[in-house]
């Protein structure tokens, strides 16, 4: 360890304490994230209860196929992330880089599909705002549905962009040989973050894409 002074910070007694602290800190952070998205879920629940038909109508404007593909893409990226953490625990530098790169590619693919979906909506004037038009009943309520759609998926996509940025950092550090079987905390922590982002999508998908399909 002496060759890697950056691994144990000055104020910790040992690596065990440092890892446990980081892990607890990450979980506390994920708890705040639960509540952050929780505010949006609360708003969604209120309006879905108030305007069930409009929400069904709004949901039918979304593309289930693209949504389902994206769900699968994100699950794949969670797998590759889990494997990156696994190889970090084993201390295999090349495999860490490989699986992190795969995760980034899958994350970028997800964002690409999302961009396609957004551009369709914007093209059809379905972006809430001054240019919003919806020919059909419940125009206002459908707007509220789409507002939730854009805010929730937008927040989710924003978290993914941050996650990708963090993974690029990890790759740089991994190539410099920072991570070993003794010290791999950052990989594990960012892994937790990425899985959390996946979980948010696991809920967003049925709540936004799959209501009133029958």
């Amino acid at each position: 360890m002496a060759s890697q002074p950056h691994t144990l910070q000055h104020h910790f007694e040992d690596l065990e304490q440092q890892f446990e602290s980081s892990s607890l800190g990450m979980w506390a952070f994920l708890v705040t994230e639960i509540l952050f998205f929780g505010g949006l879920f609360t708003g969604y629940l209120v309006y879905r209860t108030k305007f069930p038909e409009a929400f069904h109508l709004g949901s039918s404007l979304l593309d289930v196929q693209l949504g389902a593909i994206n769900t699968a893409v994100l699950i794949c990226s969670s797998l590759t992330m889990a494997l990156a953490v696994y190889w970090a625990q084993k201390g295999d530098k090349n495999k860490i880089v490989l699986f992190l790169s795969l995760t980034i590619v899958l994350g970028a693919a997800f964002l690409g599909v999302k961009a396609v979906e957004y551009s369709h909506k914007i093209h059809h004037h379905l972006l809430p705002g001054d240019g919003f038009t919806f020919e059909g009943p419940f125009a206002d309520q459908v707007r509220i549905f789409l507002s939730f759609y854009f805010t929730m998926t937008g927040m989710h996509a924003f978290h993914m962009v941050i996650g990708i940025g963090l993974m690029i950092y990890l790759i740089v550090r991994a190539r410099q040989g920072w991570y070993s079987s003794e010290y791999n905390t950052p990989v594990e922590m960012i892994g937790l973050y990425w899985h959390f982002v996946d979980i948010v999508w696991i809920y967003l998908f049925p709540l936004l894409y799959l209501i009133g399909r029958h």
Binding site: H11, G25, V31, T32, F36, G38, G39, I144, T151
Partner: protein, 550 residues
């Protein structure tokens, strides 16, 4: 820890305290050594400077508000200006002074010292928190400089989201950003208290100050993100008319109030719980006696933090929310009163058969108990449904929350500053002036805010720029009191600064207090806090030496 006689490191400590060796203050003098420090003690000083700045900004707004209300007519300023004044007063005081005050200054400085750690768990994150706070502050200052905001600190929709034509976005960004500072500080404390305690320091040996901060951190971590996303939605509503809060587009304005108060009610406990922690430390020290009902005080902090999340609807009894929801929220609001009562009774009982000395921190603490008791009891009025219908949004509410947040939190903050000033700076403040200022603040406070209970029950609504003539007498009293209060707050500022240069040098433990920060750390502490990691062998506040140590 043992008694002073048995402390093997006493000589060493005295050496540090006499300034012959390095401490955290003289460890470096460059701007960089302060602005890029990761030492929790230096970061606490950074916070101290910035919150003092914001306290006086907020104070200037308060003075202008009180001057305007001296007469029933709006003769000092325009209605628009007045509305901006109370908005900025609330926003600056709550988000940039009260919420960071005790946690970010005293908590930051003391928690590692109290638990025998070298630093917080995440020192870099701690520094980042200060920068985030600072950036949030800059946005808020920008909102002030570019013409102010007039939404009230509560940002109620649809006024804030659609109708107001002031700098809502800038102010919202300021609050949003500073919220993350609060979250990260809370997160840092949680992990530190869990993982960084010295050997032997079990949960039930922790000082109550640490328990109180643990409870506070729970609220910061769980509550703040909700208000963050709510403010984002207000911003989106303003920019893109997304309809979520706009009734003209089918939205329900009460949803905003639910989301806002889910955080902003517990936020009151972010301000008062650390204050209670400070009082627990001071009372036990100046009664020279172990605190009465340690575990009840510890658990009541946690109970307040948890129950505090179940009562937000009591801000909405007249809002048009369901009467059934009001019923439930009212019931739960009464439950949260009990843990506060437990604390007050236990502090009082600690004095019984103690050895009570009246140094300035104790006077502030007793002042706190007095003001908090009144503030807490008037909270019962507001939780009572039918009475709240009458007094909601009147000066009764204004008086109530100032008794808690100014009478309570600031009194405790100042008490804590006096108590730990020797530890923070290595200097003693002038005792006579400190006692005098505590008295001035106590008197000025009552004169300012007690009349507001009366004028509130008479029906004077809050946020009124002009008001009916018959309320004038009480408003004049209030303004007179505010003058005294303002002077009371200036006195400590002056003598604290004076003492930095001319104050007597403090010994390691000027109060003969118990606790690692007093017994095992120099005044001011060395950079890494302790020479050796302390080992804790006894409970907190063992003022009576145990037989086996004699």
């Amino acid at each position: 820890m043992g008694t002073a006689v048995f402390n093997p490191r006493e000589d060493q400590l005295a050496e540090h305290t006499n300034g012959s060796t390095k401490n955290y203050l003289n460890a470096g003098f460059s701007a960089k050594s302060w602005l890029l420090t990761i030492d929790h003690k230096r970061i606490a000083i950074l916070y101290l400077l910035s919150i003092t700045f914001f306290f006086f900004i907020g104070g200037i707004f308060a003075v202008l508000i009180r001057l305007e209300l001296l007469t029933p007519q709006g003769d000092l300023m325009q209605a628009e200006t007045y509305n901006k004044m109370f908005t900025m007063h609330g926003m600056v005081m709550i988000f940039f002074f009260l919420i960071p005050s005790i946690p970010a200054v005293l908590g930051n400085f003391l928690i590692p010292l109290m638990i025998g750690a070298k630093d917080l768990a995440f020192p870099r994150l701690n520094l980042l928190s200060w920068y985030i706070y600072f950036i949030g502050g800059l946005f808020t200052l920008a909102a002030i400089v570019f013409g102010g905001v007039d939404t009230g600190w509560t940002f109620y929709t649809p006024h804030s989201s659609t109708y107001s034509n002031t700098n809502v976005i800038l102010a919202a960004v300021g609050v949003f950003v500073s919220g993350f500072s609060s979250i990260l500080t809370g997160l840092n404390f949680l992990v530190t208290i869990h993982k960084m305690r010295a050997p032997g320091l079990t949960w039930f040996r922790l000082p109550l100050f640490v328990w109180a901060h643990y409870a506070t951190s729970i609220i910061q971590v769980l509550g703040t993100p909700v208000v963050a996303i709510t403010i984002v939605l207000v911003g989106l509503e303003r920019l893109f008319h997304i309809g979520i809060f706009d009734p003209k587009l089918g939205g329900d304005p009460l949803l905003f109030q639910h989301l806002f108060w889910f955080y902003s009610h517990p936020a009151v406990y972010i301000m008062i719980l650390p204050a209670m922690g400070v009082i627990s430390e001071i009372v036990t020290c100046f009664a020279k006696k172990k605190i009465f009902g340690y575990s009840f005080i510890a658990f009541s902090s946690i109970a307040i933090a948890v129950l505090g999340f179940l009562v937000w609807g009591h801000h909405m009894f007249t809002s048009g929310q369901s009467n059934y929801a009001s019923l439930v929220f009212s019931f739960l609001s009464f439950l949260v009163a009990i843990p506060s009562a437990i604390k007050v009774f236990n502090w009082t009982a600690t004095l019984y058969k103690g050895s009570v000395s009246y140094q300035a921190p104790m006077l502030y603490a007793i002042g706190f108990i007095g003001l908090f008791t009144i503030g807490g009891l008037t909270g019962i009025f507001l939780g009572t449904l039918a009475v709240d219908v009458h007094v909601h949004d009147t000066y009764f509410v204004v008086a109530h929350f100032h008794y808690i947040m100014v009478g309570g939190a600031i009194m405790a903050y100042l008490g804590g500053m006096h108590f730990w000033w020797p530890k923070i700076t290595g200097r003693l403040y002038p005792e006579g002036w400190a006692r005098f200022s505590s008295l001035v603040i106590f008197v000025g406070f009552h004169l300012t805010f007690f009349p507001q209970f009366i004028v509130g029950y008479l029906g004077m609504p809050r946020r009124y720029h002009v008001y009916p003539d018959e309320f004038q007498i009480l408003n004049v009293l209030s303004t007179a009191g505010a003058t005294i209060l303002g002077i009371g707050y200036l006195i400590p500022l002056i003598y604290f600064l004076w003492s930095l240069r001319y104050g007597k040098k403090s010994s390691t433990n000027p109060w003969n207090a118990k606790g690692l920060e007093w017994e095992q750390a120099a005044s001011p502490p060395i950079k890494q806090n302790f020479e050796v990691t302390p080992v804790v062998l006894e409970d907190a506040y063992e003022y009576e030496p145990k037989v086996w140590l004699k």
